[in-house]
Symmetry: C2
Subunit: 371 residues, 2 copies
DNA sequence: AGGGTCGCCGTAAACGTTCACGGGAGCCAC
DNA sequence: GTGGCTCCCGTGAACGTTTACGGCGACCCT
């Protein structure tokens, strides 16, 4: 069982010192081209792989990662942060320090968080770009000091971000379409609400929803999308108008977080029972509606997994310099009445209780919250 | 930014040596009860956390983990092994050596793999208990040398295994029930096939399927389960008989891997078009049927994630002594025509091409296969 | 009193990598 | 010939933990 080759093995084979080998392998100055190539040669032939434990111990590098996210009303962002923590803990070596900066949706607090992160010499940032437009200019701050930024949940295209971790919009929209089609017997009129068509993710979801419905269930009719601009009252009003204008509406896909006002509108319009609704995300109020049978299904965007992957992407880049994929997308989970209990047990409220119970038994609570 | 407390800090505070501190913290002999408690006291007050990089470097421990799985016909087990590899690579430090032992479903090769693993001084085993009964006796081998065993995909109750990683059977069965109910307009007759009621997982899935259907869609009728005992011909024959006996059958839930013979039976009986079927797993042939619209949906059991978690559970136990949960269950994914392409891109066949493309761009292929 | 054992503890060398420092060779200029 | 410079390279000390070894009492036995 031969152990891995070390720097010393390479140095020994060439009759040089480990310092030179190290410089050669890392393209540091102070090595002649001839020796460098000989080192690379021998390194490859010995199958050298650096001992990461020794590296971490030696350079004692503490990555400082700033996490800039919303202090949202639902637990979505709590779960994202939880996933980031989880990713950091799963690391084996603890050489990363997380700075959480949270701010409300509106206002300039987002920019302040960015500036504060830069001032604190963060090595990397995980951020939610609430306004992709403005985000571009925040990003210039980070670009100055070559600080990599990974977007989570929403992309900021052409902003120079390192990568983005989000739900696969096409998979979400298409799944919703296929489901609604089968729930409704492949006929009838359906609609969809979204935040704004100007936001890429929402536009893509709707596009996927419509095109899938047209190709798989061509007899169905898709109405024009409804934009609520993240305002509850707008969602409510527009949906009441929708239900009034289309009394024969059979299905509704709510891509936004604000599903409660839509459900309320359906209730007030008296169409709650005869409407098949598919919503997005999962939180207590929505769970109640799901259990009551008022909505058929909800698409869970796995915030915890998003957070965990965002962290891992950023960490791998910082630690190894590995360029990640431009985008990392993941499948959403489908939650219906049938499997609702499974998700509630893993939800922050339920999971906390469960983690406490696990701790009683001396078990690790870590895996209680995997999805 | 004060760094973490070290052994030396503790030793210094007490005027003793690091060796003693180390012995005290690890309950090693050679320390008086008095000093031990003082060490623990100071350690806690300083918030000491061991530097894992230093630990790994020092003890240079190479965990040897044996992975005993099926050489199955579908890609399920390839994906499980892939996930285990992924878990090992994501570790940050490379101190684990994986020994893969694969064997066919029947025969005594499974026992041989166990013996071989013990002979090779494996520190831990990830195994699939193909025959939970016999498994108990294999486990005695492992128990002798206190080798922890984590079951993957199927549990072996009362066998002394450390933990099990599998799909949540209740979530699977209940989801299938809820879906079929809504696909069929909440009425009609449905059936389910499974491998054998004597296998816990299958019994639980069916039980969840039936009880969810009864509670959510009480007007529907569930027939007695069909056991195929993992034999394709038996599945085919019994399903032909089923279709003949119940021409009004509306839905079918196939919990087993062997869905192809069932589909063939439906085709030969001429009921393929009017039957709503939900299957399990995902492989090329099944993808074709899904794309053709012959089955409504399939429940993907996320073998890669199962493998990754099984590895992590075992590793955390070996490295930190953390007792894991008795069972780790995960949600299955729902695959329909709408989101099929997403999964195919991540499947071994598609993923290989994608990984190659990512490598071209200098990107890490690692995240191409996440789910 | 000498020798042996046992319990407690200090010492120091490893593990493999990183990095600051310095030294020698060569070269040019004054 | 002295000084200064650059280019290449060796040296050695860190990083924090583990572990084999040895030492120093205290105690018991003959």
């Amino acid at each position: 069982m031969r152990r891995n080759a070390t720097l010393f093995d390479i140095a020994d084979a060439l009759g040089i010192s480990t310092g030179t080998v190290h410089r050669a392998l890392h393209n540091h100055p102070g090595v002649s081209a001839a020796t460098r190539s000989r080192v690379l040669q021998v390194s490859k032939s010995l199958g050298y792989r650096p001992n990461l434990a020794a590296r971490f111990l030696s350079q004692r590098k503490q990555f400082r990662i700033s996490v800039n996210t919303l202090s949202g009303t639902t637990s979505f962002w709590d779960e994202v942060r939880d996933g980031i923590n989880q990713g950091a803990r799963a690391l084996g070596v603890e050489n990363v320090e997380l700075d959480f900066r949270t701010y409300p949706l509106f206002g300039e607090a987002e920019e302040e968080a960015f500036q504060s992160a830069m001032k604190a010499d963060s090595n990397g940032i995980v951020a939610f770009p609430s306004q992709p437009k403005n985000f571009r200019s925040w990003m210039k701050l980070a670009a100055k000091s070559k600080t990599p930024v990974v977007c989570v949940s929403t992309d900021a295209p052409d902003s120079g971000r390192l990568s983005v971790v989000s739900i696969d919009t096409v998979a979400s929209g298409s799944l919703a379409a296929d489901l609604l089609g089968r729930f409704l017997g492949r006929k009838g009129k359906v609609a969809a609400t979204l935040s704004a068509l100007s936001i890429n993710e929402h536009a893509e979801k709707f596009q996927a929803f419509r095109s899938t419905l047209q190709s798989l269930h061509p007899e169905m009719q898709v109405l024009e999308p409804i934009e609520d601009h993240d305002a509850e009252s707008e969602a409510y009003d527009k949906c009441r108008a929708l239900f009034a204008a289309h009394p024969d509406l059979a299905g509704l896909y709510i891509t936004t977080e604000a599903s409660i006002p839509v459900i309320q509108a359906a209730r007030d319009s008296g169409v709650l029972g005869k409407l098949s609704m598919i919503t997005t995300d999962l939180f207590p109020k929505l769970a109640d509606e799901l259990r009551a049978g008022n909505i058929a299904a909800t698409i869970y965007q796995r915030p915890r997994t998003q957070g965990r992957l965002a962290f891992q992407v950023l960490y791998n880049y910082l630690a190894d310099g590995r360029a990640p994929q431009q985008q990392v997308t993941l499948v959403p989970h489908l939650v219906m009445r049938g499997n609702l209990d499974y998700f509630l047990a893993r939800h922050p409220m339920g999971a906390r209780a469960k983690a406490a119970a696990a701790a009683e038994n001396g078990e690790a609570a870590e895996f209680a919250t995997f999805d």
